[in-house]
């Protein structure tokens, strides 16, 4: 599918499928087309060309049916700040015609059941993010869309959010997550699509991506201070190591696995920073 704004192609002829119960990640900087992809999949607007299917339903045709089956966590914390946690969730519960008991259930799922009476504006960013996730669970969705779920959170809150996501996976939820955080993508996703300028430039499991595009390195530091980066698990590096070892010239040895960041840099020639 593609999405064009005048002459600008926000999403350029992408195609992917997500297995039921898997966490699928869209990784890329701002402007890569991640959020536009999510907006198409959550029926916020149709693609300019192509078709998107959610659970076998066409997003451009069966929007009402799809909306009942999905939950969305937005990048911006779009809650009603003046209202309490309960009032926020109760409003959205009514939109889905879910039973009242669901509120307690979804708050329990994110460990926030004690905060029902708190006004949203009194909560921390991490707590608000948990409320956003609980809101997305009100209709007991099969598929969850999480747009930058841990973006801007402190490390502790980010870790908590990631744990909540893993717990949801255990409940057989299919999760599509967008992120520009390499570690998060590597840690959470079963399958990862790297997006750049509207296109998917690579897609596989994080392990396979690292194997395919990344380089595992053996770094040898000699007593004279020289550094040698050698490809890991090769005969050549084994020979070099043996030579330095025999002459007692080795000061330090490190092995460095390839990371998703390496893969991204290799594929795009760009670094992915928090600003992006």
């Amino acid at each position: 599918m593609s999405k064009k704004y005048d002459d600008f192609k926000a999403v350029n002829d992408i195609s992917f499928s997500v297995k039921k119960g898997a966490i699928f990640g869209l990784l890329g900087p701002n402007g890569a087309g991640k959020s536009t992809t999510i907006k198409i999949l959550t029926c916020q607007f149709p693609p300019t060309s192509g078709t998107a299917y959610i659970g076998g339903l066409n997003t451009a045709v069966n929007a009402t049916e799809i909306k009942k089956k999905i939950g969305v966590v937005f990048e911006s914390q779009n809650l009603y700040e003046e209202l309490s946690v309960y009032e926020n969730l109760n409003f959205f519960r009514q939109l889905y015609s879910s039973p009242k008991e669901k509120i307690r259930e979804v708050l329990k799922a994110v460990g926030m059941e004690k905060y029902q009476k708190y006004k949203i504006k009194t909560l921390s960013k991490g707590m608000k993010q948990k409320i956003m996730i609980s809101r997305a669970l009100l209709n007991d969705p099969d598929i969850l869309f999480l747009d930058e779920p841990a973006s801007g959170l402190d490390p502790h809150s980010a870790r908590e959010i990631r744990q909540v996501i893993l717990d949801l996976k255990l409940q057989s939820k299919t999760i599509l997550i967008t992120t520009h955080n390499m570690e998060e993508a590597d840690f959470l996703c079963d399958c990862l699509a790297i997006m750049h300028k509207g296109s998917i430039i690579a897609m596989d499991t994080p392990e396979n991506l690292k194997k395919k595009y990344g380089k595992a390195i053996l770094r040898i530091e000699t007593v004279t201070g020289d550094i040698y980066d050698l490809p890991l698990n090769t005969r050549a590096s084994s020979n070099v190591f043996k030579k330095f070892s025999e002459n007692n010239q080795i000061s330090f040895v490190h092995s460095k696995e390839a990371t998703i960041e390496d893969v991204f840099i290799i594929l795009t020639g760009e670094k992915l920073t928090d600003e992006s």
Binding site: K67, Y80, E87, Y96, R135, N139
Partner: protein, 347 residues
């Protein structure tokens, strides 16, 4: 269109407006203003007017006559300059420079001059201008050449004249200022995105907001009518016009919000639209040109409908032109909203 969703949006907006003190204050403004205005009008009956008087000579009995008027607080000065200074400093509402021999001239039937100056920025000067001629006629022991038969309207009737103005103001104010704010805030805080990924449609949101606007406008209008003792005349007709007017201006407000997309643009457009809507309806009697122009704005039909129903006991059958035009206007506005939403969605 889903009634449960519309009601959920209505309830949420109602709770939000109660919890947000700013919105609550804005909503109560028309009620407060109507009470303040009517209290101010009733106060003018008992207002005490400070008037500075400089007697250039021999008019003590005229000054005593002025002092005997209960509503005048006469301040005698030693010079015309001192009187003027008091006026400029807003210590008095008016000054009188009484010329030499004024009292004698009045009593002898000569027509003397009396120099009067008022401060037009002092609201009390209006009361002075309404009374000073009668006081001088009384001093000269003269009478009007005719006997007036002045019949006062029943007590409190004056405030009845103002109720249609305040109700029209409320309908326009809440519909075009408060309601667009509730929608543009949803745009700006992106809460609308969260609503629209649920089974709620844009139409549900618009109808939910319309329902909320309608409820608020009718509630505040009824409060104003109740507080000012306005349940007179044909109350059923009044309610019809309040309902039709509320629906029309709620629709206009939502149209502005849909078009504007953000709070500041919506406020600007609403403010620009509000002035002619209110003024043309109120000033229609001032000139033929304004009257013709007033037929172009829906507020005129709301105002005339409520006024005639309340003061002349007119029913819907008497007011069918106003009623019909407002019904057509509502159909047009809500059709336009549907059209704009459809267009926006396709974009």
């Amino acid at each position: 269109m889903n009634l449960n969703i519309i009601l959920a949006i209505f309830r949420k907006d109602l709770i939000s407006s109660i919890k947000s003190k700013n919105i609550l204050i804005v909503l109560l403004t028309p009620v407060f203003l109507s009470i303040l205005f009517n209290s101010t009008i009733s106060l003018t009956d008992n207002v005490i007017l400070p008037v500075a008087v400089y007697d250039e000579g021999s008019s003590v009995d005229f000054i005593e006559h002025l002092s005997s008027i209960g509503n005048y607080e006469v301040i005698i000065t030693d010079s015309a300059g001192e009187s003027e200074e008091l006026l400029y400093n807003e210590k008095v509402a008016a000054i009188m420079i009484v010329p030499e021999g004024f009292s004698a001239d009045v009593k002898n039937g000569v027509t003397p001059s009396l120099n009067i100056m008022v401060n037009p920025y002092d609201a009390r000067s209006v009361v002075f201008l309404q009374t000073y001629k009668d006081i001088i006629m009384d001093f000269a022991e003269q009478e009007y050449p005719v006997h007036f038969s002045l019949n006062m309207l029943p007590a409190g009737f004056q405030s009845l004249f103002n109720i249609p103005i305040w109700v029209m103001f409320t309908i326009i104010f809440v519909g075009m200022m408060v309601l667009p704010n509730t929608l543009t805030t949803e745009y700006e805080k992106k809460t609308l995105d969260a609503i629209l990924v649920s089974p709620a449609s844009e139409k549900d949101v618009i109808y939910g907001k319309s329902f909320f606007g309608l409820f608020l406008t009718i509630l505040i209008s009824l409060t104003i009518i109740f507080i000012n003792g306005g349940f007179v005349g044909n109350s059923l007709s009044v309610m019809f016009f309040v309902f039709l007017g509320s629906a029309a201006f709620t629709g206009l407000g939502l149209l502005i919000a849909i078009y504007a997309d953000n709070y500041s643009s919506a406020s600007l457009i609403s403010t620009i639209c509000m002035a002619p809507l209110i003024l043309l309806a109120l000033l229609a009697d001032f000139s033929r040109e304004i009257e013709y122009l007033s037929y172009l704005v829906p507020s005129t039909y709301v105002f005339n409908g409520i006024k005639n129903a309340m003061l002349n006991n007119s029913g819907i059958s008497d007011l069918y032109p106003e009623f019909g035009i407002l019904v057509i206007f509502n159909i047009l506005v809500y059709s336009l909203i549907s059209h704009v939403l459809k267009k926006k969605r396709s974009v």
